[in-house]
Symmetry: C2
Subunit: 107 residues, 2 copies
DNA sequence: TCGTTAATTGACGAAATGATCAAAAAGAGA
DNA sequence: TCTCTTTTTGATCATTTCGTCAATTAACGA
């Protein structure tokens, strides 16, 4: 694994890292089919505006969402529709993990 | 977003989080079509054995890979083939991000 | 221009993560 | 049993991340 390969992996893993937080993943799901302002997102996730704003900037820097101004509001939208497809796959992984845990207990 | 929803998101985001590190993403790609022992993975990623072992345990706990013993060796395999499909989508995001950066410079 | 609304930024402390070293398991074979 | 090989685990420290507060920016209308 040379330097070039490591840089390539860094670029890609940043996308996963950005989605690797419950609030940020919640935002991605929330935006899957519509544009929303920061205030809507704050209402939805239920934490402080400044916290949400920082999570949004992480998603934006990763290229997962984009924004535009509309008067006083900033509207955010998903720029990565394929993320939603991948969720099905991730759900499968989560269910598999739960099965493993069940097996540990039931034997 | 109630407690139940937050727990659901936590379970899912853990999968992304596990892939959100260059070494771990490199392992996922390396295992995409074959089983490998820890020693092979160490050779491939080029860092210490104990470091690799800890990254493997994170991927395993997330349900992304699984292991089996074969004599002295522990063989790891991918349990999430859909991860490889999703890579294409992530590559698109990375390229989009690079375009944005280029636009910043060229104006 | 002033006040209001919407959002971002900076500073800070607590908590989590990552790399490295040494020590410990766990199986294979003499 | 003793030793070698392969891998995991524990301790430690530096770095990063996360959430909260206060301050700031930006646009709108009166």
């Amino acid at each position: 694994m040379d330097t070039r390969e490591r840089e390539r992996l860094k670029l890609k893993s940043d996308v996963f890292k950005a989605m690797g937080h419950p609030i940020r993943l919640g935002v991605v799901e929330f935006l899957h089919d519509r544009e929303m302002c920061v205030c809507d997102i704050v209402d939805h996730v239920g934490t402080g505006m400044s916290n949400v704003s920082k999570h949004l900037s992480i998603l934006k820097k990763a290229g997962i969402i984009a924004d535009r101004r509309d008067g006083l509001k900033i509207m955010y939208r998903l720029t990565m529709p394929c993320a939603v497809d991948f969720m099905k796959c991730v759900e499968g992984v989560v269910l598999g993990r739960l099965d493993d845990q069940r097996a540990l207990i039931t034997g």
